[in-house]
Symmetry: C2
Subunit: 248 residues, 2 copies
Protein backbone atom coordinates (compact mmCIF):
# COMPACT_ATOMS: atom_id res chain seq x y z
CA UNK A 1 0.00 0.00 0.00
CA UNK A 2 1.43 3.40 -0.93
CA UNK A 3 2.38 5.82 1.82
CA UNK A 4 0.39 9.05 1.43
CA UNK A 5 1.38 12.43 2.88
CA UNK A 6 -0.84 13.21 5.90
CA UNK A 7 -2.97 15.86 4.15
CA UNK A 8 -3.78 13.43 1.30
CA UNK A 9 -4.91 10.78 3.77
CA UNK A 10 -7.05 13.34 5.53
CA UNK A 11 -8.67 14.41 2.23
CA UNK A 12 -9.29 10.77 1.35
CA UNK A 13 -10.88 10.05 4.74
CA UNK A 14 -13.10 13.11 4.40
CA UNK A 15 -14.29 11.97 1.00
CA UNK A 16 -14.93 8.46 2.34
CA UNK A 17 -16.97 9.99 5.16
CA UNK A 18 -19.04 11.96 2.69
CA UNK A 19 -19.58 8.84 0.59
CA UNK A 20 -20.72 6.95 3.70
CA UNK A 21 -23.14 9.71 4.61
CA UNK A 22 -24.68 9.64 1.14
CA UNK A 23 -25.01 5.86 1.38
CA UNK A 24 -26.68 6.17 4.79
CA UNK A 25 -29.16 8.71 3.45
CA UNK A 26 -29.89 6.58 0.39
CA UNK A 27 -30.42 3.53 2.61
CA UNK A 28 -32.90 5.44 4.75
CA UNK A 29 -34.74 6.57 1.61
CA UNK A 30 -35.00 3.04 0.19
CA UNK A 31 -36.22 1.70 3.54
CA UNK A 32 -38.92 4.39 3.72
CA UNK A 33 -40.00 3.81 0.11
CA UNK A 34 -40.39 0.11 0.80
CA UNK A 35 -42.30 0.50 4.08
CA UNK A 36 -44.58 3.16 2.60
CA UNK A 37 -45.38 1.02 -0.45
CA UNK A 38 -46.37 -1.97 1.69
CA UNK A 39 -48.45 0.27 3.97
CA UNK A 40 -50.17 1.83 0.93
CA UNK A 41 -51.04 -1.63 -0.40
CA UNK A 42 -52.39 -2.83 2.95
CA UNK A 43 -54.49 0.27 3.67
CA UNK A 44 -55.50 0.80 0.00
CA UNK A 45 -54.13 4.33 0.28
CA UNK A 46 -53.52 5.75 -3.21
CA UNK A 47 -52.16 9.07 -1.95
CA UNK A 48 -49.47 7.18 -0.05
CA UNK A 49 -48.72 5.11 -3.15
CA UNK A 50 -48.38 8.30 -5.21
CA UNK A 51 -45.86 9.55 -2.66
CA UNK A 52 -43.70 6.45 -3.26
CA UNK A 53 -43.94 6.82 -7.03
CA UNK A 54 -42.88 10.46 -6.98
CA UNK A 55 -40.12 9.71 -4.45
CA UNK A 56 -38.30 7.31 -6.78
CA UNK A 57 -36.45 10.13 -8.56
CA UNK A 58 -34.79 11.08 -5.27
CA UNK A 59 -33.42 7.55 -4.91
CA UNK A 60 -32.12 7.57 -8.49
CA UNK A 61 -30.51 10.94 -7.80
CA UNK A 62 -28.79 9.53 -4.71
CA UNK A 63 -27.38 6.66 -6.78
CA UNK A 64 -26.04 9.08 -9.42
CA UNK A 65 -24.47 11.13 -6.65
CA UNK A 66 -22.75 8.07 -5.17
CA UNK A 67 -21.47 7.00 -8.59
CA UNK A 68 -19.95 10.46 -9.11
CA UNK A 69 -18.31 10.40 -5.68
CA UNK A 70 -16.85 6.97 -6.42
CA UNK A 71 -15.46 8.02 -9.80
CA UNK A 72 -13.86 11.08 -8.22
CA UNK A 73 -12.36 9.00 -5.42
CA UNK A 74 -10.98 6.43 -7.84
CA UNK A 75 -9.56 8.96 -10.28
CA UNK A 76 -8.05 11.39 -7.77
CA UNK A 77 -7.07 9.16 -4.83
CA UNK A 78 -6.28 5.87 -6.58
CA UNK A 79 -7.16 3.79 -3.51
CA UNK A 80 -5.77 0.26 -3.26
CA UNK A 81 -6.48 -2.86 -1.16
CA UNK A 82 -8.88 -2.18 1.76
CA UNK A 83 -9.74 1.32 0.60
CA UNK A 84 -10.44 0.22 -2.94
CA UNK A 85 -12.67 -2.55 -1.60
CA UNK A 86 -14.60 -0.04 0.47
CA UNK A 87 -15.04 2.37 -2.42
CA UNK A 88 -16.18 -0.36 -4.82
CA UNK A 89 -18.63 -1.76 -2.26
CA UNK A 90 -20.35 1.64 -2.30
CA UNK A 91 -21.28 1.06 -5.96
CA UNK A 92 -22.68 -2.35 -5.14
CA UNK A 93 -24.69 -1.08 -2.17
CA UNK A 94 -26.04 1.88 -4.15
CA UNK A 95 -27.11 -0.40 -6.98
CA UNK A 96 -28.90 -2.76 -4.55
CA UNK A 97 -30.69 0.18 -2.89
CA UNK A 98 -31.78 1.58 -6.25
CA UNK A 99 -33.24 -1.77 -7.22
CA UNK A 100 -35.00 -2.11 -3.85
CA UNK A 101 -36.59 1.30 -4.38
CA UNK A 102 -37.62 0.20 -7.89
CA UNK A 103 -39.44 -2.77 -6.42
CA UNK A 104 -41.16 -0.43 -3.93
CA UNK A 105 -42.27 1.82 -6.81
CA UNK A 106 -43.48 -1.13 -8.81
CA UNK A 107 -45.54 -2.22 -5.77
CA UNK A 108 -46.95 1.30 -5.38
CA UNK A 109 -48.03 1.35 -9.05
CA UNK A 110 -50.29 -1.62 -8.39
CA UNK A 111 -52.12 -0.08 -5.41
CA UNK A 112 -54.60 1.91 -7.51
CA UNK A 113 -55.24 -1.20 -9.61
CA UNK A 114 -55.87 -3.39 -6.59
CA UNK A 115 -58.36 -0.80 -5.35
CA UNK A 116 -60.51 -1.38 -8.42
CA UNK A 117 -61.47 -4.80 -7.04
CA UNK A 118 -62.74 -5.80 -3.57
CA UNK A 119 -59.94 -6.55 -1.14
CA UNK A 120 -58.69 -10.14 -1.17
CA UNK A 121 -57.66 -11.44 2.28
CA UNK A 122 -54.31 -12.61 0.84
CA UNK A 123 -53.15 -8.99 0.86
CA UNK A 124 -52.38 -9.43 4.56
CA UNK A 125 -50.02 -12.31 3.83
CA UNK A 126 -48.29 -10.23 1.17
CA UNK A 127 -47.88 -7.42 3.70
CA UNK A 128 -46.35 -9.94 6.13
CA UNK A 129 -43.68 -10.70 3.54
CA UNK A 130 -43.27 -6.94 3.11
CA UNK A 131 -42.60 -6.37 6.82
CA UNK A 132 -40.16 -9.27 6.92
CA UNK A 133 -38.04 -7.94 4.06
CA UNK A 134 -38.23 -4.38 5.43
CA UNK A 135 -36.81 -5.66 8.76
CA UNK A 136 -34.08 -7.56 6.93
CA UNK A 137 -33.22 -4.49 4.87
CA UNK A 138 -32.98 -2.37 8.03
CA UNK A 139 -30.70 -4.95 9.67
CA UNK A 140 -28.56 -5.24 6.52
CA UNK A 141 -28.16 -1.46 6.33
CA UNK A 142 -27.26 -1.15 10.01
CA UNK A 143 -24.72 -3.96 9.60
CA UNK A 144 -23.17 -2.23 6.60
CA UNK A 145 -23.02 1.21 8.20
CA UNK A 146 -21.40 -0.22 11.35
CA UNK A 147 -19.16 -2.64 9.37
CA UNK A 148 -20.54 -5.50 11.50
CA UNK A 149 -19.85 -8.72 9.57
CA UNK A 150 -21.52 -11.01 12.14
CA UNK A 151 -24.72 -9.01 12.02
CA UNK A 152 -24.54 -9.13 8.21
CA UNK A 153 -24.13 -12.91 8.35
CA UNK A 154 -27.35 -13.19 10.39
CA UNK A 155 -29.26 -11.22 7.75
CA UNK A 156 -27.77 -13.37 5.04
CA UNK A 157 -28.87 -16.57 6.78
CA UNK A 158 -32.42 -15.26 7.11
CA UNK A 159 -32.93 -15.06 3.34
CA UNK A 160 -34.24 -18.62 3.62
CA UNK A 161 -37.15 -17.30 5.73
CA UNK A 162 -38.01 -14.94 2.89
CA UNK A 163 -37.88 -17.72 0.32
CA UNK A 164 -40.06 -19.99 2.47
CA UNK A 165 -42.65 -17.30 3.09
CA UNK A 166 -42.64 -16.34 -0.59
CA UNK A 167 -43.17 -19.94 -1.68
CA UNK A 168 -46.15 -20.46 0.58
CA UNK A 169 -47.56 -17.10 -0.49
CA UNK A 170 -47.23 -18.08 -4.15
CA UNK A 171 -49.31 -21.18 -3.48
CA UNK A 172 -51.80 -19.34 -1.28
CA UNK A 173 -52.42 -16.82 -4.06
CA UNK A 174 -52.94 -19.63 -6.59
CA UNK A 175 -55.62 -21.17 -4.37
CA UNK A 176 -57.49 -17.85 -4.20
CA UNK A 177 -57.29 -17.57 -7.97
CA UNK A 178 -58.68 -21.08 -8.41
CA UNK A 179 -61.51 -20.50 -5.95
CA UNK A 180 -63.10 -17.58 -7.76
CA UNK A 181 -62.36 -16.11 -11.19
CA UNK A 182 -62.93 -12.61 -9.78
CA UNK A 183 -59.78 -13.12 -7.68
CA UNK A 184 -57.61 -13.85 -10.70
CA UNK A 185 -56.79 -10.27 -11.74
CA UNK A 186 -56.13 -8.85 -8.25
CA UNK A 187 -54.17 -11.94 -7.21
CA UNK A 188 -52.05 -11.73 -10.38
CA UNK A 189 -51.05 -8.23 -9.27
CA UNK A 190 -50.40 -9.57 -5.76
CA UNK A 191 -48.20 -12.29 -7.30
CA UNK A 192 -46.10 -9.55 -8.92
CA UNK A 193 -45.94 -7.60 -5.65
CA UNK A 194 -44.88 -10.73 -3.74
CA UNK A 195 -42.16 -11.36 -6.33
CA UNK A 196 -40.99 -7.74 -5.94
CA UNK A 197 -40.75 -8.21 -2.18
CA UNK A 198 -38.91 -11.50 -2.52
CA UNK A 199 -36.38 -9.69 -4.74
CA UNK A 200 -35.96 -7.03 -2.05
CA UNK A 201 -34.92 -9.88 0.25
CA UNK A 202 -32.31 -10.94 -2.34
CA UNK A 203 -30.92 -7.42 -2.44
CA UNK A 204 -30.76 -7.26 1.37
CA UNK A 205 -28.69 -10.45 1.07
CA UNK A 206 -26.44 -8.68 -1.43
CA UNK A 207 -25.94 -5.85 1.08
CA UNK A 208 -24.96 -8.41 3.70
CA UNK A 209 -22.46 -9.97 1.27
CA UNK A 210 -20.98 -6.53 0.54
CA UNK A 211 -20.56 -5.90 4.29
CA UNK A 212 -18.83 -9.24 4.81
CA UNK A 213 -16.50 -8.55 1.88
CA UNK A 214 -15.60 -5.07 3.16
CA UNK A 215 -14.78 -6.42 6.62
CA UNK A 216 -13.07 -9.71 5.75
CA UNK A 217 -11.89 -9.28 2.16
CA UNK A 218 -13.28 -12.71 1.25
CA UNK A 219 -16.61 -13.45 -0.43
CA UNK A 220 -19.49 -14.76 1.66
CA UNK A 221 -21.42 -16.14 -1.29
CA UNK A 222 -19.33 -19.31 -1.65
CA UNK A 223 -21.29 -21.16 1.03
CA UNK A 224 -24.69 -19.65 0.37
CA UNK A 225 -27.59 -21.93 1.38
CA UNK A 226 -29.50 -23.49 -1.55
CA UNK A 227 -32.45 -21.41 -2.65
CA UNK A 228 -35.91 -22.86 -2.14
CA UNK A 229 -37.25 -23.51 -5.63
CA UNK A 230 -40.77 -24.56 -4.64
CA UNK A 231 -42.34 -21.41 -6.11
CA UNK A 232 -41.06 -22.76 -9.42
CA UNK A 233 -43.46 -25.69 -9.04
CA UNK A 234 -46.89 -26.22 -10.49
CA UNK A 235 -49.89 -26.24 -8.18
CA UNK A 236 -52.90 -27.72 -9.92
CA UNK A 237 -56.35 -27.73 -8.26
CA UNK A 238 -56.29 -31.53 -7.98
CA UNK A 239 -53.02 -31.33 -6.01
CA UNK A 240 -54.54 -29.14 -3.34
CA UNK A 241 -56.18 -30.65 -0.32
CA UNK A 242 -59.34 -28.90 1.01
CA UNK A 243 -57.52 -27.09 3.82
CA UNK A 244 -54.96 -25.84 1.28
CA UNK A 245 -57.77 -24.23 -0.67
CA UNK A 246 -58.67 -21.78 2.06
CA UNK A 247 -55.52 -20.79 3.85
CA UNK A 248 -55.26 -17.57 5.89
Amino acid sequence: MPVYPTHTMKAFDDELDRLNQTLGRMGGLAETQLGTAVQAMLTRDEALAAQVISGDDQVDGAEDHINEQVVRLLALRQPVADDLRLVMSALRVASALERIADHATSTAHRVAVLNQAPMVPAVKSVARLGWLVRDLLKEALDAFMSRDADRALKVWERDEEVDDLYSSLFRELLTYMMEDPRHIAPCTHLQFIAKNLERVGDHATNLAEATWFVVHGTPLSANRPKKDMSSYTMAEPRHLSPQDQSPE
Copy 2:
Protein backbone atom coordinates in the same frame (compact mmCIF):
# COMPACT_ATOMS: atom_id res chain seq x y z
CA MET B 1 -8.24 17.49 -21.31
CA PRO B 2 -4.69 16.60 -20.23
CA VAL B 3 -2.04 16.00 -22.87
CA TYR B 4 -0.62 12.49 -22.48
CA PRO B 5 2.75 11.31 -23.80
CA THR B 6 2.21 9.11 -26.87
CA HIS B 7 3.03 5.80 -25.16
CA THR B 8 0.44 6.51 -22.40
CA MET B 9 -2.25 7.23 -24.97
CA LYS B 10 -1.35 4.02 -26.76
CA ALA B 11 -1.63 2.04 -23.51
CA PHE B 12 -4.97 3.68 -22.74
CA ASP B 13 -6.33 2.93 -26.21
CA ASP B 14 -5.19 -0.68 -25.91
CA GLU B 15 -7.00 -1.04 -22.59
CA LEU B 16 -10.13 0.58 -24.03
CA ASP B 17 -9.98 -1.89 -26.93
CA ARG B 18 -9.75 -4.79 -24.50
CA LEU B 19 -12.68 -3.41 -22.51
CA ASN B 20 -14.72 -3.12 -25.70
CA GLN B 21 -13.90 -6.68 -26.67
CA THR B 22 -15.05 -7.97 -23.28
CA LEU B 23 -18.27 -5.95 -23.63
CA GLY B 24 -18.86 -7.39 -27.10
CA ARG B 25 -18.36 -10.92 -25.83
CA MET B 26 -20.65 -10.31 -22.85
CA GLY B 27 -23.31 -8.86 -25.17
CA GLY B 28 -23.14 -11.93 -27.38
CA LEU B 29 -23.48 -14.16 -24.32
CA ALA B 30 -26.54 -12.29 -23.01
CA GLU B 31 -28.18 -12.39 -26.45
CA THR B 32 -27.61 -16.15 -26.70
CA GLN B 33 -28.91 -16.75 -23.16
CA LEU B 34 -32.10 -14.84 -23.96
CA GLY B 35 -32.73 -16.51 -27.32
CA THR B 36 -32.04 -19.97 -25.90
CA ALA B 37 -34.38 -19.41 -22.94
CA VAL B 38 -37.27 -18.36 -25.22
CA GLN B 39 -36.60 -21.30 -27.54
CA ALA B 40 -36.53 -23.70 -24.55
CA MET B 41 -39.89 -22.36 -23.36
CA LEU B 42 -41.47 -22.63 -26.80
CA THR B 43 -40.21 -26.15 -27.54
CA ARG B 44 -40.58 -27.37 -23.93
CA ASP B 45 -36.92 -28.40 -24.04
CA GLU B 46 -35.60 -28.83 -20.49
CA ALA B 47 -32.05 -29.70 -21.58
CA LEU B 48 -31.88 -26.37 -23.42
CA ALA B 49 -33.23 -24.59 -20.32
CA ALA B 50 -30.59 -26.28 -18.14
CA GLN B 51 -27.96 -24.95 -20.55
CA VAL B 52 -29.19 -21.39 -19.92
CA ILE B 53 -29.22 -21.89 -16.15
CA SER B 54 -25.66 -23.23 -16.05
CA GLY B 55 -24.50 -20.49 -18.45
CA ASP B 56 -25.46 -17.65 -16.09
CA ASP B 57 -22.17 -17.92 -14.15
CA GLN B 58 -20.27 -17.08 -17.33
CA VAL B 59 -22.25 -13.84 -17.71
CA ASP B 60 -21.64 -12.91 -14.07
CA GLY B 61 -17.94 -13.63 -14.59
CA ALA B 62 -17.89 -11.33 -17.62
CA GLU B 63 -19.46 -8.51 -15.58
CA ASP B 64 -16.85 -8.97 -12.81
CA HIS B 65 -14.13 -8.89 -15.45
CA ILE B 66 -15.49 -5.64 -16.92
CA ASN B 67 -15.74 -4.05 -13.47
CA GLU B 68 -12.10 -4.92 -12.79
CA GLN B 69 -10.99 -3.50 -16.14
CA VAL B 70 -12.90 -0.28 -15.42
CA VAL B 71 -11.39 0.11 -11.94
CA ARG B 72 -7.91 -0.40 -13.37
CA LEU B 73 -8.53 2.11 -16.16
CA LEU B 74 -9.90 4.71 -13.73
CA ALA B 75 -7.14 4.26 -11.17
CA LEU B 76 -4.18 4.08 -13.53
CA ARG B 77 -5.22 6.27 -16.50
CA GLN B 78 -7.49 8.81 -14.78
CA PRO B 79 -9.52 9.44 -17.94
CA VAL B 80 -11.47 12.68 -18.22
CA ALA B 81 -14.30 14.02 -20.42
CA ASP B 82 -15.09 11.76 -23.43
CA ASP B 83 -12.83 8.96 -22.23
CA LEU B 84 -14.31 8.97 -18.74
CA ARG B 85 -17.80 8.88 -20.26
CA LEU B 86 -16.84 5.88 -22.36
CA VAL B 87 -15.30 4.02 -19.43
CA MET B 88 -18.29 4.69 -17.16
CA SER B 89 -20.75 3.64 -19.87
CA ALA B 90 -19.05 0.22 -19.82
CA LEU B 91 -20.26 -0.26 -16.23
CA ARG B 92 -23.79 0.68 -17.22
CA VAL B 93 -23.82 -1.62 -20.24
CA ALA B 94 -22.34 -4.54 -18.27
CA SER B 95 -24.96 -4.09 -15.55
CA ALA B 96 -27.80 -4.05 -18.12
CA LEU B 97 -26.42 -7.19 -19.78
CA GLU B 98 -26.13 -8.98 -16.45
CA ARG B 99 -29.74 -8.19 -15.65
CA ILE B 100 -30.89 -9.31 -19.11
CA ALA B 101 -29.12 -12.63 -18.57
CA ASP B 102 -30.80 -12.90 -15.14
CA HIS B 103 -34.19 -12.54 -16.79
CA ALA B 104 -33.22 -15.25 -19.29
CA THR B 105 -32.21 -17.56 -16.43
CA SER B 106 -35.42 -16.81 -14.57
CA THR B 107 -37.36 -17.74 -17.73
CA ALA B 108 -35.35 -20.95 -18.09
CA HIS B 109 -36.15 -21.95 -14.49
CA ARG B 110 -39.85 -21.97 -15.35
CA VAL B 111 -39.55 -24.30 -18.38
CA ALA B 112 -39.53 -27.53 -16.36
CA VAL B 113 -42.53 -26.24 -14.38
CA LEU B 114 -44.51 -25.35 -17.48
CA ASN B 115 -43.85 -28.86 -18.79
CA GLN B 116 -45.77 -30.33 -15.84
CA ALA B 117 -49.00 -29.01 -17.38
CA PRO B 118 -50.36 -29.33 -20.93
CA MET B 119 -49.17 -26.56 -23.24
CA VAL B 120 -51.31 -23.42 -23.23
CA PRO B 121 -51.54 -21.71 -26.64
CA ALA B 122 -50.56 -18.37 -25.05
CA VAL B 123 -46.98 -19.61 -24.91
CA LYS B 124 -46.67 -18.63 -28.58
CA SER B 125 -47.63 -15.04 -27.79
CA VAL B 126 -45.05 -14.97 -24.99
CA ALA B 127 -42.43 -16.25 -27.44
CA ARG B 128 -43.41 -13.45 -29.86
CA LEU B 129 -42.56 -10.93 -27.14
CA GLY B 130 -39.32 -12.86 -26.60
CA TRP B 131 -38.28 -12.57 -30.25
CA LEU B 132 -39.14 -8.88 -30.30
CA VAL B 133 -36.95 -8.05 -27.30
CA ARG B 134 -34.16 -10.29 -28.59
CA ASP B 135 -34.16 -8.33 -31.86
CA LEU B 136 -34.14 -5.02 -29.96
CA LEU B 137 -31.28 -6.24 -27.77
CA LYS B 138 -29.29 -7.23 -30.86
CA GLU B 139 -29.91 -3.81 -32.45
CA ALA B 140 -29.02 -2.02 -29.21
CA LEU B 141 -25.76 -3.96 -28.89
CA ASP B 142 -24.79 -3.32 -32.53
CA ALA B 143 -25.55 0.37 -32.05
CA PHE B 144 -23.38 0.51 -28.92
CA MET B 145 -20.47 -1.39 -30.43
CA SER B 146 -20.47 0.82 -33.56
CA ARG B 147 -21.18 4.02 -31.54
CA ASP B 148 -24.18 4.67 -33.79
CA ALA B 149 -26.46 7.10 -31.92
CA ASP B 150 -29.16 7.19 -34.62
CA ARG B 151 -29.45 3.43 -34.61
CA ALA B 152 -29.65 3.56 -30.79
CA LEU B 153 -32.43 6.15 -31.02
CA LYS B 154 -34.45 3.80 -33.24
CA VAL B 155 -34.16 1.02 -30.63
CA TRP B 156 -35.14 3.44 -27.90
CA GLU B 157 -38.26 4.52 -29.78
CA ARG B 158 -39.32 0.90 -30.26
CA ASP B 159 -39.64 0.27 -26.52
CA GLU B 160 -43.26 1.35 -26.97
CA GLU B 161 -43.84 -1.69 -29.18
CA VAL B 162 -42.61 -3.87 -26.33
CA ASP B 163 -44.89 -2.17 -23.82
CA ASP B 164 -47.90 -2.51 -26.14
CA LEU B 165 -47.24 -6.18 -26.82
CA TYR B 166 -46.66 -6.83 -23.12
CA SER B 167 -49.92 -5.14 -22.13
CA SER B 168 -52.00 -7.13 -24.58
CA LEU B 169 -50.21 -10.29 -23.49
CA PHE B 170 -51.00 -9.56 -19.84
CA ARG B 171 -54.69 -9.36 -20.71
CA GLU B 172 -54.56 -12.39 -22.99
CA LEU B 173 -53.06 -14.48 -20.18
CA LEU B 174 -55.76 -13.28 -17.76
CA THR B 175 -58.47 -14.44 -20.16
CA TYR B 176 -56.91 -17.92 -20.34
CA MET B 177 -56.78 -18.02 -16.55
CA MET B 178 -60.44 -17.06 -16.28
CA GLU B 179 -61.53 -19.61 -18.88
CA ASP B 180 -60.24 -22.67 -17.08
CA PRO B 181 -58.80 -23.03 -13.56
CA ARG B 182 -56.26 -25.54 -14.90
CA HIS B 183 -54.69 -22.69 -16.86
CA ILE B 184 -54.12 -20.57 -13.73
CA ALA B 185 -50.84 -22.08 -12.56
CA PRO B 186 -49.12 -22.32 -15.97
CA CYS B 187 -50.38 -18.87 -16.99
CA THR B 188 -49.10 -17.37 -13.72
CA HIS B 189 -45.64 -18.64 -14.67
CA LEU B 190 -46.14 -17.23 -18.18
CA GLN B 191 -47.09 -13.88 -16.60
CA PHE B 192 -43.73 -13.87 -14.81
CA ILE B 193 -41.90 -14.84 -18.01
CA ALA B 194 -43.68 -12.06 -19.94
CA LYS B 195 -42.70 -9.58 -17.24
CA ASN B 196 -39.08 -10.79 -17.47
CA LEU B 197 -39.11 -10.21 -21.22
CA GLU B 198 -40.67 -6.77 -20.88
CA ARG B 199 -37.84 -5.88 -18.48
CA VAL B 200 -35.30 -7.08 -21.08
CA GLY B 201 -36.85 -4.48 -23.38
CA ASP B 202 -36.27 -1.82 -20.70
CA HIS B 203 -32.63 -2.82 -20.44
CA ALA B 204 -32.21 -2.70 -24.23
CA THR B 205 -33.55 0.87 -23.91
CA ASN B 206 -30.91 1.55 -21.25
CA LEU B 207 -28.23 0.30 -23.67
CA ALA B 208 -29.56 2.70 -26.29
CA GLU B 209 -29.43 5.57 -23.78
CA ALA B 210 -25.84 4.68 -22.88
CA THR B 211 -24.89 4.73 -26.58
CA TRP B 212 -26.52 8.14 -27.11
CA PHE B 213 -24.71 9.50 -24.06
CA VAL B 214 -21.32 8.18 -25.21
CA VAL B 215 -21.73 9.71 -28.66
CA HIS B 216 -23.40 13.04 -27.78
CA GLY B 217 -22.51 13.65 -24.13
CA THR B 218 -26.15 14.55 -23.38
CA PRO B 219 -28.81 12.27 -21.88
CA LEU B 220 -31.47 10.80 -24.17
CA SER B 221 -33.89 10.01 -21.36
CA ALA B 222 -35.19 13.59 -21.00
CA ASN B 223 -37.65 13.16 -23.85
CA ARG B 224 -38.56 9.55 -23.30
CA PRO B 225 -42.06 8.62 -24.50
CA LYS B 226 -44.60 7.95 -21.74
CA LYS B 227 -44.76 4.33 -20.72
CA ASP B 228 -47.94 2.41 -21.42
CA MET B 229 -49.43 1.62 -18.02
CA SER B 230 -52.32 -0.54 -19.20
CA SER B 231 -50.82 -3.72 -17.73
CA TYR B 232 -51.29 -1.97 -14.41
CA THR B 233 -55.05 -2.13 -14.98
CA MET B 234 -57.59 -4.60 -13.74
CA ALA B 235 -59.25 -6.92 -16.22
CA GLU B 236 -62.35 -8.48 -14.73
CA PRO B 237 -64.28 -11.20 -16.57
CA ARG B 238 -67.27 -8.86 -17.01
CA HIS B 239 -65.05 -6.33 -18.79
CA LEU B 240 -64.03 -8.77 -21.48
CA SER B 241 -66.05 -9.10 -24.66
CA PRO B 242 -66.40 -12.64 -26.13
CA GLN B 243 -63.70 -12.17 -28.77
CA ASP B 244 -61.35 -10.97 -26.03
CA GLN B 245 -61.84 -14.23 -24.22
CA SER B 246 -60.27 -16.35 -26.91
CA PRO B 247 -57.51 -14.34 -28.49
CA GLU B 248 -54.64 -16.01 -30.41
